[in-house]
Amino acid sequence: MLIEVAITAAVITAAVGFISWRVWQTLRVSKGKQACGGCGACPAKTAKP
């Protein structure tokens, strides 16, 4: 039971952390500090070798 609670809490924390990171990335795009929104809806804007 304790392990179940711990795993669930870790997964939720990771999801919230990921969303926060994406919000931060999006704000960086709006300020022009990043090339693309990285929304993943279109192919990557910066071609890599």
């Binding site: 039971m1 179940e4 609670v5 795993i7 669930t8 997964v11 939720i12 990771a14 999801a15 919230v16 990921f18 969303i19 994406r22 919000v23 999006t26 704000l27 795009v29 709006s30 300020k31 022009g32 090339a35 693309c36 929104g37 990285g38 929304c39 993943g40 809806a41 279109c42 192919p43 804007k45 910066t46 071609a47 890599k48 070798p49």
Partner: protein, 800 residues
Amino acid sequence: MNRTDRHTVALIGNPNTGKSSLFNALTGARQKIANFPGVTVEAKLGVLKLEHTEIDLIDLPGTYSLAARSPDERVAIDGLLGRAKGMAKPDGVLIVVDASSLDRNLYLATQVLEFGLPTVLVLTMVDVATERGISIDMDKLSAALGAKVVAVNSPKGENLDILKQTLHQTLHHPAKPLELPYPEDFRRGVDTLYQQLCDIGIKLGYTPARPESLRLLVDASGPFLEECEEVAGPEFTRQLHEIRDKASGGRSLALIESTARYGQIGQWMLQAKRTQNREGRTLTDKIDAVLTHKLWGTLVFVLVMGLIFQSIYAWAGPLMDIIDSGFGALGDLVGSTLADGMLKSLIVDGIIAGVGGVLIFLPQILILFLFIALLEDIGYMSRAAFLMDRLMARFGLSGRSFIPLLSSFACNIPGVMGARVIEDRNTRLTTIFLAPFMSCSARLPVYTLFIAVFVPAQKVLGFIPLQGLVLFAMYWVGVLFAIPTALVLKRGILKSKVTPFLMEMPSYKMPRARNVLRVLWDRGGSFVKRAGTIILALSIVVWAAAYFPHSDEIEQKYDAQLEALQAKYEPAVVEFEPDFEAEPQNSLEKIAKAHADHEAAIAELEEEHAEDEEALKAAVLEAESALVKALDDLRSADFETASGQYEAWLEYTEAASAIENDRAGDHLENSYLGVMGKAIEPAVRPLGWDWRIGMAAIASFPAREVIVGTLGIIFHLGAEEDEESGTLRETISNDKSFSLATGLSIMVFFALCAQCAATLAVMRRETNSWKWPITSFVYMTSLAYVAALVTYQVAHALGG
């Protein structure tokens, strides 16, 4: 000693000359290529590896000249001068030139050659030129230009090694700037202005190049002048105009410049180009006569678009069913492995229902992009832009807005960024504002889900499937609302003249399988990545909000009800758990198996005779007789008792299932999501939505597809899973809170609402102000609300 040199080389050329294709061939990068201009709006970086040398290759946006009127042209100049952020000053240049339009393409080449960088001229589309009877003597052209010339065929990889070697050699030889025969006054004007620019070089933070003074003298506008004014004040502009007056000698400076350039190009062409007169029209001309025709062209355009949306329905179904069953099996596997509890619920109701619900739309996304990729590669999109130009001019927009708006149908972000090719600021802002109205691929799952549920699979006029027709119509909803918005903006705050739109019509080509597959791989990959990242994270958060606090009080209340129910039945009934896979051991099990086999047979018959009601009735009657016979065969001493137990078991399982459903529903209504949903319910009720749809719509503001996942989670959590639980489509169609009017209202809302945080962020960056994204968000959300309200009320009143 082994040393590796590092150089930077800029790749520049007119739009649609095959720069991106060459860039990919040289660097192995996977940048998007299309058979229409304006695909690259930002400089891209790739690495070309040669023996002992690595070259950073910068792919600059396509431009017809270095006159920096639009932002993407400024990107080209900054890239050439090494002022682009994070990019070094180029040591050399590759000028990509379309051999079939050599004269016009060399105009840009003369401007670049004036910079005096080591340069290689790359001829593309030589096969098209040959078809048109054009032959080019490359040695003579090279001697005339003072630069090496190499003809390549990037898609086939022809002559790429020669190009690499030539570039390698060229980089190690200094080059002289091209000198054109300008009139003396003009030349003096350039020199004087160049001196002035050097004087303010310290304040600018860089030494301007001489060709920049030529550009400033001729153009007297653009971002570079603004920069100079900023550091040197308005006095600089006054002096610039004085110099311009002296240099022009009363003539147009632009005319002086173009006369000198085209004069020089004409002389080069006399030496290096031969054209044979070919009789008759080319195949491209013949096809264009139909596809760009006012009536036939428009008809073909509508037919092509209609066909795309029909195919999405006709072809995607079987593939969707496979993915759906895959996720169903995965859910069952996890469900049978884990014990009941929050972890099982998180995986089955949260992750699998949320992400799986979105991923089943992958086939539809792939079919849409298959058609887009084919049309792009064939060269049809430029013809579509030509057709739309006439229409768009009526709303104050030019055909130049068409490509960004067309890109927006795939994703609004490249649409907003693609507006950079528009010179006029007001038209650019209008285009950016309109881009989110175009139905991006994220809206597709929403449309297809609700169309599949509410629109019957009938045919209109006997041959047009209704579902595809409704999907086609949904794509027009955004366009229909964008038109009056454009009219208001262009006649109001963003008033400007309609500038003529000049667009090159690329010749038709056979689609290249590699290009098409690359588009499908990229788009499909992006969709899966998005489902596996942001949608997964949002699904987990939505699940948590819908699962917790999961109070003990509710658990106890329903446990007590269940205990009371169990007390009413004998233990043999309560404990009976039939295993239909195993051989039945007693009469009760035999009776249960006979009934289960009968139900399975009926389901099969219903599927078999779905379109023939009479045949179904007859088959069902036959199956029922078979059941009666099977039960007769089972008659034994304890048959009556076992029959009674079976009836009691049916009654008990139904009542127990109702209690479990109530328990799940009660938990959901009392969850954080439920409480929030109930609070907003009065606001969404007029749209025909209940609190669950309201919350799903709110959860979708960061990304639209989340609504599908959220509804999947809510329905999974809101009802106990049993053998009758179906797909999300089936669950919605069985739910009484949904009607056709509700479905239409949701689709209209999603067609018009600005639910994409990434698009709003890019809009802020492109307009350099929060004013536009905030206005867009408020305007589109209000519009979506009102339109959904009207849709629901009208459809409801009509009996929907």
